[in-house]
C-alpha cells in the first residue's frame, strides 16, 4: 500500500555549480578502468586477465573467490594496458584502452513475453555472468548482494538529494522500456514488494510514471530523504537477520537493457558539477570513464579536487582517475589547503554551517548557493556537542551512541543500536555537521566490517 512520508530532520547543502540540462558527447573517449575499490565487499578478488589481453565489452575481468558466481566485466572492448596495484598489492585499477569499433559478448535476447516466462534461477545466472549483477546492493553492510540469498523486499530510490545530484529525468531519458523490463526481472528475485520511492513534492516524474509491478511511495523532506537507507527505515525497517536489496534506477535500466538486447551496455549519462566547473552539464560517457576525457578544459584552475560521486559520500580521484561504477556525477571543488588567519572566530557569511555559533551567519541566507572547499575546518577532537547528529538523522537511531559502540568495538551494543540499518551515506550528514571532526563514515565502515566478520 502506497505510503506518503514527511521527514523533518536533515539538512540540504546548497552548493554552487548545478548542472544545466545540456547533454554532450565528450571530446575523447579512449581509456576506461574497472576499479575493484568501488566494490566494498570484495574480499578476495581474482583477476581473469593480464596486461596485453584483448577483451570484449562485457567480458569478465575479475571475480571474488568468496562469491564466484558474480562476474565483474570490462565496460568496453579493447586491450588491457595496465593493472595498477597499491600498497600490499591491493588491486586498484584495471585499465582498458578502447577499440575504435566495439565488440561485445553476445547473450540471448528476450522479448517482453519471454521475460514473463523466464525462471528465477536462469535470470540470476544470466545477470551474474553478464556483469550487471553488481548493481544490486544488499543491506545490511552495503555490499554486492549474494545471488544465493533472497531478500524480504527490494528498494529503489527514485530521487537523489545529495548536493548537486543529477536529475534522474535526464539520466534515464527515454529508458522507460528498459526500466520496466528491469523491474520485471527484479520481481522474480524476491517474494516481497519492490518499493519505488519518489519525491512527493511533485507528480510522479514522467520517466517513472506508469511503471508496473512496484509500489510507489512518496517522501518529502531535506536531505537525506533521498537516501534509500532512510526510506527503508520508514517503510520496512531492517532487523537482525533481515535482508533487503537496493538498486539505483540507472542499474535497473542497465539490467533491463541487457535482457532486451543481450549485451552489457556500459553507457551512462554523467553530470559534471561543482563550483570549479566552467559550464556544469551532462555528458554521454561509459562506466569507468577517465575523468579528464570530459572534464578537461572545463575546470577553472589547477588547485581543485575531483570527486567521483557527490561531495558527501564520493571518493577523491585525480584528474587522470576514473569514474566509479556506481557514480553518475563528478564534483569538482576547490582544494582548501591554505591557512586562514583567525579563521575560527572571524564572522563569515560565505561559509556554510548547520550551526549558528558566533560569527556563523549562513543560516540567515537560506537560498544561497555556497562554494565550499575541502578544508577540514578544524582539528579532530573528542565528542563535545550533543544533540546535533539526531537533528540531521531522520531515523530512530542515536548516531553518537552507535559510533561510540563501534569505537569501543562492543558488538552487542552495535547490533542493539541499529548498525544493520545504516551504511556510510546515511551518516554522511553527521560527518558534515560534526563539531569534533570525526571521520564518521570511516568509523561506521569499520564497525560494519567487524560485525560482518564476527
Amino acid at each position: 500500500m502506497s505510503q506518503i512520508i514527511k521527514l523533518k530532520r536533515g539538512f540540504d547543502i546548497n552548493l554552487a555549480g548545478k548542472a544545466s540540462n545540456k547533454v554532450e558527447n565528450p571530446s575523447q573517449q579512449e581509456t576506461y578502468a574497472i576499479k575493484p575499490s568501488d566494490f566494498i565487499g570484495l574480499k578476495r578478488p581474482k583477476l581473469l586477465v593480464e596486461v596485453g589481453d584483448k577483451v570484449k565489452a562485457g567480458q569478465p575481468v575479475l571475480f571474488d573467490k568468496v562469491m564466484e558466481k558474480v562476474r565483474y566485466v570490462s565496460p568496453v572492448s579493447g586491450e588491457v594496458t595496465d593493472i595498477v596495484r597499491g600498497k600490499k598489492r591491493v588491486l586498484q585499477e584495471i585499465i582498458v584502452k578502447a577499440d575504435n569499433q566495439e565488440t561485445s559478448v553476445q547473450f540471448d535476447k528476450f522479448s517482453v513475453s519471454d521475460i514473463a516466462n523466464l525462471d528465477r534461477e536462469k535470470a540470476i545466472d544470466l545477470m551474474c555472468e553478464s556483469g550487471v549483477w553488481p548493481n544490486i546492493i544488499q543491506r545490511p553492510y552495503g555490499v554486492v548482494a549474494n545471488p544465493e540469498t533472497s531478500p524480504k523486499a527490494i528498494f529503489i530510490s527514485g530521487f537523489d538529494t545529495h548536493p548537486l545530484a543529477p536529475d534522474y529525468q535526464i539520466l534515464l531519458k527515454d529508458r522507460k522500456k528498459d526500466l520496466q523490463v528491469g523491474i520485471d526481472i527484479l520481481k522474480k528475485l524476491t517474494d516481497g514488494i519492490i518499493h519505488f520511492n519518489i519525491n512527493a513534492s511533485g507528480e510522479i516524474p514522467s520517466e517513472f510514471s506508469g511503471l508496473a509491478g512496484v509500489q510507489f511511495n512518496k517522501f518529502t523532506g531535506p536531505h537525506p530523504a533521498g537516501n534509500v537507507g532512510v526510506q527503508i527505515h520508514h517503510l520496512d525497517p531492517i532487523n537482525k537477520g533481515d535482508l533487503v536489496w537496493t538498486i539505483n534506477p540507472v542499474g535497473v535500466a542497465q539490467i533491463g537493457k541487457f535482457f532486451l538486447e543481450g549485451i552489457y551496455d556500459s553507457s551512462k549519462i554523467v553530470a559534471l558539477v561543482g563550483s570549479e566547473v566552467n559550464d556544469p552539464r551532462y555528458f554521454n560517457v561509459r562506466m569507468g570513464a577517465r575523468i579528464n576525457d570530459f572534464a578537461e578544459g572545463n575546470v577553472k584552475n589547477d588547485n581543485v579536487r575531483f570527486i567521483s560521486g557527490n561531495a558527501l559520500t564520493g571518493t577523491k580521484v585525480s584528474s587522470k582517475g576514473f569514474l566509479g561504477f556506481y557514480d553518475s556525477m563528478v564534483t569538482v571543488l576547490p582544494e582548501g589547503d591554505q591557512d586562514e588567519f583567525l579563521g575560527w572566530i572571524l564572522p563569515t557569511t560565505s561559509k556554510l554551517s548547520f550551526h549558528r555559533a558566533f560569527g556563523l551567519f549562513s543560516f540567515l541566507n537560506q537560498g544561497k548557493e555556497f562554494s565550499l572547499n575541502t578544508n577540514n575546518r578544524g582539528e579532530p577532537r573528542a565528542f563535545v556537542q550533543t544533540g546535533v547528529f539526531e537533528k540531521v538523522t531522520p531515523m530512530d537511531i542515536y548516531p553518537m551512541y552507535l559510533l561510540k559502540a563501534i569505537m569501543a568495538e562492543d558488538y552487542d551494543e552495535m547490533e542493539e543500536l541499529g548498525i544493520y540499518e545504516v551504511i556510510e551515506e546515511d551518516l554522511a550528514l553527521c560527518e558534515f555537521v560534526d563539531v569534533s571532526k570525526h571521520e564518521i563514515q570511516d568509523i561506521l565502515r569499520h564497525g560494519l566490517e567487524l560485525i560482518q566478520n564476527s
Binding site: E340, I345, D442
Partner: protein, 387 residues
C-alpha cells in the same frame, strides 16, 4: 624544529596549538568520506560560550566596586572608581585561573601527547565568576589545578569528564577552605572599614537563618540593610544584581542575556535550562504547601534570583559533556537539578547554596538517565523485529 626527530619534538603539540590559534589549519578532508565540512569547530563553539559569559563578567566586575563603596559608606564614588576597584580585584583572579589551569593542561599535552583542547578557555573564565572577590589567589590556583587534574585529565581530557570542572573547583574550595568561601566574604573591603550596622550576609544566608529565627524570608530580605543602605535585597536589586555575591553570579538579568546568546546560537540547551527552572519552581511551590519553616514559605520565584541559581542554570548545567546527552534525558536532568537545588536549600541548614551540589550530583546521574533513554530506543528496535 618541532617535527619528529627535531630538537623540540616533545613540544610539537604546543607549537601546533599556538599555530592553530592564529591560523585555521590547512588540512583537507580525506580521500574517502565527506569531502566538505561544516564551518564550525570546537574553538568557535567555546568562543561563543565565552561571549555569552561576558555580560556577567563585565557587570560583576563593576559590581565588586559598587558593593565596595556601599559597604564603606562612600555612596558618591564615581563610576570610574568602581570599575578600578572591580578590575583590581577581578583581573588577578582571572589571570591566576587561566595560568594555573593552563599550565596543568600544557603539562598533560606533553605527557599524554594529545592536542591542547579548547575546553579550558571556558572553564578558566567560569572559575573566577563563581568565587567571592575576596578569595585568596593561591586558593584559586589550587582549585584550578585540582579541578583540571582530578575532574578532567584523569578521565581523559576535554569531552571525557563526568563532573563539571568549574564546579569541581568551587566544591574543592567549599569543602577544603570553607572560611574563605562562606560567611562575610562577598564584599571586597580592601583596607577600609565598613560602616556601622554593616552586615555581609547574603540572601541565602539570611534565608537559611530564617529557619531558626522564624521570620518570613521576604520580610527579612526587604528590611535588610536599613540604616546603612536601604533595600539591598529588594526584589529588583536581586534581579538586576546590585548586591554582594560571587563575582559573576549576582545578576539574574546578565545570566538571562547569556542564556539568550547560548540558545540563539544553539550552543546551550534550552531544554536543560527550562527544566531546571521548572523543577525548581515546582519544588518551590511544593515546599510552600508543606510550609514547615519560613524558608519553605518563601515564594518559589525567589529561588530563581537568590544565590547562584541563575548562573548555574545557564552556564554550569548546560555543559554538553557533563549534562545528559540525549534530548529526552536533558529534560529529566534539568528538572531534577531544579528539584534538588530547592531541597538542599530549604531542608538542610548546613548548605545554604544548593545549585552547585545539585548539578554535581546530577552530573553523576546523567549517564544513568541516558542509559534508560537508549534502552528504550533498543527496545523499540527489538519490537519492530517481532512485529
Amino acid at each position: 624544529m618541532f617535527e619528529k626527530g627535531g630538537k623540540l619534538e616533545k613540544f610539537y603539540l604546543l607549537f601546533e596549538a599556538g599555530e592553530t590559534f592564529l591560523f585555521s589549519p590547512s588540512e583537507t578532508t580525506k580521500a574517502r568520506g565527506a569531502q566538505i565540512k561544516d564551518a564550525i569547530d570546537l574553538k568557535r563553539l567555546m568562543m561563543t560560550v565565552i561571549i555569552a559569559m561576558i555580560p556577567c563578567l563585565l557587570f560583576g566586575t563593576w559590581n565588586v566596586g559598587h558593593q565596595h563603596f556601599i559597604a564603606v559608606g562612600e555612596l558618591n564614588a564615581s563610576e570610574i572608581d568602581k570599575w578600578l576597584v572591580g578590575l583590581k580585584t577581578v583581573i588577578p583572579i582571572l589571570l591566576v585561573s587561566y595560568i594555573a589551569g593552563g599550565l596543568v593542561e600544557v603539562v598533560f599535552v606533553i605527557i599524554r601527547k594529545h592536542p591542547l583542547n579548547e575546553g579550558y578557555l571556558v572553564t578558566g573564565m567560569l572559575i573566577p565568576l563563581v568565587v567571592p572577590p575576596t578569595i585568596p589567589l593561591w586558593q584559586v590556583a589550587l582549585a584550578a589545578i585540582f579541578a583540571v587534574i582530578i575532574a578532567k585529565e584523569a578521565f581523559g581530557g576535554t569531552g571525557m569528564n563526568v563532573l563539571n570542572v568549574a564546579l569541581t573547583a568551587r566544591a574543592f574550595l567549599y569543602f577544603a577552605y570553607p572560611s574563605q568561601i562562606s560567611g562575610e566574604v562577598w564584599t571586597y573591603l580592601g583596607d577600609k572599614t565598613p560602616v556601622d550596622g554593616y552586615s555581609g550576609a547574603t540572601p541565602l544566608a539570611l534565608a537559611n537563618q530564617s529557619i531558626t529565627s522564624g521570620e518570613s524570608v521576604v520580610t527579612t530580605l526587604n528590611s535588610f540593610g536599613a540604616g546603612w543602605f536601604d533595600d539591598v535585597y529588594s526584589f529588583s536589586n536581586m534581579f538586576f544584581g546590585f548586591m554582594p555575591g560571587s563575582i559573576g553570579e549576582t545578576s539574574t538579568l546578565m545570566c538571562i542575556i547569556g542564556a539568550a546568546i547560548l540558545i540563539m546560537t544553539g550552543v546551550g540547551s534550552w531544554k536543560v535550562m527550562l527544566g531546571v527552572v521548572l523543577g525548581a519552581f515546582a519544588m518551590g511551590n511544593l515546599v510552600n504547601v508543606i510550609g514547615a519553616n519560613p524558608y519553605m514559605d518563601m515564594p518559589a520565584y525567589y529561588h530563581l534570583i537568590i544565590g547562584g541559581f541563575a548562573f548555574g542554570t545557564v552556564f554550569m548545567a548546560t555543559d554538553p559533556v557533563t549534562a545528559a546527552q540525549t534530548e529526552k534525558g536533558k529534560w529529566i536532568y534539568g528538572i531534577f537539578i531544579g528539584i534538588l537545588t530547592v531541597i538542599i536549600r530549604v531542608f538542610n541548614p548546613a548548605y545554604p547554596e544548593g545549585i552547585m551540589l545539585a548539578i554535581l550530583l546530577m552530573n553523576v546521574f546523567a549517564p544513568l538517565i541516558d542509559h534508560y533513554i537508549v534502552q528504550a530506543n533498543k527496545k523499540r528496535r527489538l519490537k519492530r523485529a517481532t512485529v
